[in-house]
Symmetry: C2
DNA sequence: ATTTCATATGAATAAGATTTCATGTGAGGC
DNA sequence: GCCTCACATGAAATCTTATTCATATGAAAT
């Protein structure tokens, strides 16, 4: 059964393997927002938000709708909710304090740029 | 609720956002194997397999056990099975023929090295 | 029709990840 | 105890991805 060795599957994970895009997903979990609103919450440039919304759209992680001049983005809860519940369960089992899985790659976390650091929540 | 803006979550996706690692996961879905066996099925170097097994281990996507001289790797089915069912459902809904979500990034697929291309299954 | 607001796109650069090849490690067998 | 098999690790080179800044598009308001 070939389910994971497809480009679509790779793209699925690659799209979510980015702090900016994860943050956008999280922000939209709260409520639908337009690009400027997302940028404001994230404290990031508008163009960066647009760039990152694109792959999220292509993978149907988010949807969008025009409302007057603005384009309102919303999250695909049908996918995102069960997905993140699965991850939450996995994490609770295998990295209970959020430290275990950071150990080996702690250095990379250090090297992360300031802008990205603020996107992450500190587990401790 | 901060579930996805954690480094652990980023690492979760980043680890699976790689064709070699996805292929390893798929190969191990079939049956547990040692490093040399994985390398043989994948037609890749042993060191590459080892390098890629490491993050898979750290994220508990795979487990390992020593058997004599060899180290046998197996997949964490409790996670991988529901995860890929979720993705399969999502894909069936939003990229039914495997083409939709390739359209915009088709060029990148072209640019992929030969070694990686063979890891992907052609949807069409 | 023109201006302006909201978002999208392009291209260059910067940053990060993957692969490769060489070498290290360590447990098993002899 | 030594050798060797099986695997892991390190570091450089290469390839990929993300971000930035400038500019384009396009629809709504005037």
């Amino acid at each position: 059964m070939k389910i994971c060795t497809t480009y679509a599957c790779h793209k699925f994970f690659a799209t979510l393997a980015n702090p900016t895009r994860l943050a956008i997903v999280e922000i939209l979990m709260d409520s639908p927002k337009n690009v400027a609103q997302i940028a404001q919450v994230l404290q990031q440039e508008q163009s960066m938000v647009s760039h990152n919304l694109k792959p999220l759209m292509e993978c149907a992680f988010v949807f969008s709708e025009k409302k007057g001049r603005k384009r309102v983005y919303s999250v695909n809860k049908e996918l995102i909710e069960p997905l993140f519940h699965l991850i939450a369960f996995h994490e609770s089992k295998y990295c209970p304090n959020g430290k275990t899985c950071l150990t080996r790659r702690g250095i990379k976390l250090e090297r992360m740029r300031e802008a990205q650091k603020t996107l992450y929540v500190n587990h401790e």
